[in-house]
Point group: C2
Amino acid sequence: MPLDQVSKRLAPQFQHVEGSLIKKIAARATSRSISLAGGLPHESTFVFRGVTWEMDDGSTLTLKNRALTGGTEAEDGAAELPLNYMQGSGMPELCGELRAHMQRYHTPAYDDWAVIPTTGSTDALTKCFQLLMPPPGKKPIILSESLVWAAALAIAAPLGYEVRGLELDSDGMLPSALDVACRQLASEGERAAFLYLTPHGQNPTGTSLSPQRKRDLYALAQEHDLIIVEDDPYRLLFLPADPEETGEAAMPGVMGLPKSLLSVDTDGRVIHLESLSKWVCPGLRLGWLTAPKAFVEGAYRKWNELTIQFPCTVSQSVFCAMLRAWGQEGLDRHLRRLQVHYAKQRRVMHLAARRHLQGLAIWDLPKAGMFILFKVPALKGKGKAETDSVLEELLAEDVLMVPGYAFDPSPEKAAEPAFRATYATASPEKIEEGIARFGKAVARLTEGMKEERAEEKTVPVMD
Amino acid sequence: MPLDQVSKRLAPQFQHVEGSLIKKIAARATSRSISLAGGLPHESTFVFRGVTWEMDDGSTLTLKNRALTGGTEAEDGAAELPLNYMQGSGMPELCGELRAHMQRYHTPAYDDWAVIPTTGSTDALTKCFQLLMPPPGKKPIILSESLVWAAALAIAAPLGYEVRGLELDSDGMLPSALDVACRQLASEGERAAFLYLTPHGQNPTGTSLSPQRKRDLYALAQEHDLIIVEDDPYRLLFLPADPEETGEAAMPGVMGLPKSLLSVDTDGRVIHLESLSKWVCPGLRLGWLTAPKAFVEGAYRKWNELTIQFPCTVSQSVFCAMLRAWGQEGLDRHLRRLQVHYAKQRRVMHLAARRHLQGLAIWDLPKAGMFILFKVPALKGKGKAETDSVLEELLAEDVLMVPGYAFDPSPEKAAEPAFRATYATASPEKIEEGIARFGKAVARLTEGMKEERAEEKTVPVMD
């Protein structure tokens, strides 16, 4: 009996997604076959002979369309550039690399898991949300953090999901909050379709789950039979605990990274999403999903084939060639360089905040990722309009930040007022200046509120 | 008032898809801005300096990540390789090229239309099916051809659509059949969510709509207020009427192609889908959608941003560079070469069928595309099992073809028994041999049925 809690929770309409008869017939092809079945265009008509990538370290990766160039990798050292249709399960060579990567760096705690390339985690997430929709008559409910990646909320809305946010501390989601929420749902005769969380460098709060917290949340997921969708784009941007550490040697590289929830998943109840966007580039539109094999090779692959078919083969093949060319050493070198960039940027923002936001905002140093959430106590208990007035003032001064309510799943937008700032891209000078202007805007607001209070006091009582 | 019938028919949950607040804030960036808003990774961390494509004609196209290489296109002739996040509306330079292409070769009959790059027509189609879902309480019904591209049926199923197939002749869907179906629906208190059709080289029947047929169907769409989803991947594979014509000069090239339904759309009720898969390659996962501007820039773009975000930027940028490098002359040259390939292959299969299938199968010479549908009169009135026995016999003889019922939208699978064969890829020798074996399998079936009838006759009447 394969370990697969996920497939038990498939939406009714996805429990019997038909595999393509044409693909089934095509799969019966042998070397002797005369295939007049699949509508595959002839590779000799494709316009590309091949592609050569120039890498940041000066090396090159060449991939060839063998239908036009002939030859083999052994002869000319160039890998295959697949350009035709392929199965929804993706390029086999890439899947092999990804499986080895997951085995080495995440070591799932059960055997029957599988990987599948995605066209980025946004699409993969939407597919998971669709595939895990509860049957009619049951409320579609997602449990998540108190502030949630805005795109996940935007995906949930048209699909009809209600998202309930759970309290966090600096170690991430509180197990007690999860337990209470599950019991509350049970008392309503409902249960969550799944728990959606970002374990490392959560967007927007910057929090990361401690190893103990991961174990505790997983134990609760078992107790309440919860599926977990683990969206993990920032794990590779894990940073040293000390904000002053910005040297390569202090970085976690690839071996010093924390393990995901997958590493404690003994039941097959975690769907893990990884993206290339934050550590290779967003443009490739590539990521991968790891989950119980029956789910990956069944409903997910089939829904893939009816939508994107498969991720861009140019992206798949160059990423596969990169992983092979890098090996563990090259991957470690690349990640350290990347982590140094983010550690330096984080330090700049953290120091700027210490200079300009004392008494005006509170924040946690993020352990991973690219965001700091600045909470503004002066706005506490005030409405969205007060937050917007700070936002407008910032925009008028050419500083772009995102108000916390953009990430608030509650209809009342009642979460603590805050602003999310990213240290990913701006220059140190701009970060310094942006945070300084943010401090001034908050200070003016605080002054304004003091004056208002003073005015209120001096208003004569009329009757 | 913009011409946009499509947006009036949006599913309730997509009528108010929120644009991303973060993207709205990001859009307010100016050259003076200090952006701490969007979670864009820094381009200097991307691993690619650039990419060089070797084209089939020996030319090269180089694109560069300017964050790493510096310089400009004017200095080194290389176009930009965008690798970061972009808006769901796609790469502006590519959109400009696509708009010019559509204006030149399709000339939509109204002004307020727009294009958007898709990650292939399968994904675009699924999105259209989702966006045009009727409100609860109304049956989701699609009108389409009597045999329909199998993937479209497979997409329709989990979304809950019923697909009603309408009769075709050699000029495509019969207007009378469409009229009757619409009236029938009206009498049931229902109406079709949309009409889904493939105007050129329909898969699997190979039929193409004549110009008059397009006008007639469009007039009926107006009369019954139907939205039309026009899936048009095979138009560029339009071929000469005479199967013996296989020379470049006889090919339509780019200027001799028929126009799509878009060219008669005066109301903004057509969504037109184009794919690169059949004339560039499937691997790029790229196509584009043309439809009323408000729909394209509103619901479609927003749903794009919540799923795929945008198609692979490597695909978008190389396709843009190709279109610019080709111009009309290069596009024409490429299409003629492609059309010659398909015309030669079509001729081989047509002649093989004339040799081996006389009296056993009937077929129309396809005007476009890559498929011939062989109808088998001997199977008429027999069940799916009889078709499967021919299929199994073919598979046992290493010939892969697809039974017609794979494309039949009716639950009874009552369409005329047939097999679809593609002439796209197999060598002339294999096509000849495959069709010969198909003929033998059908002949054996016919013999078997004669014997059965003979046996039936000799069975003594028992009572």
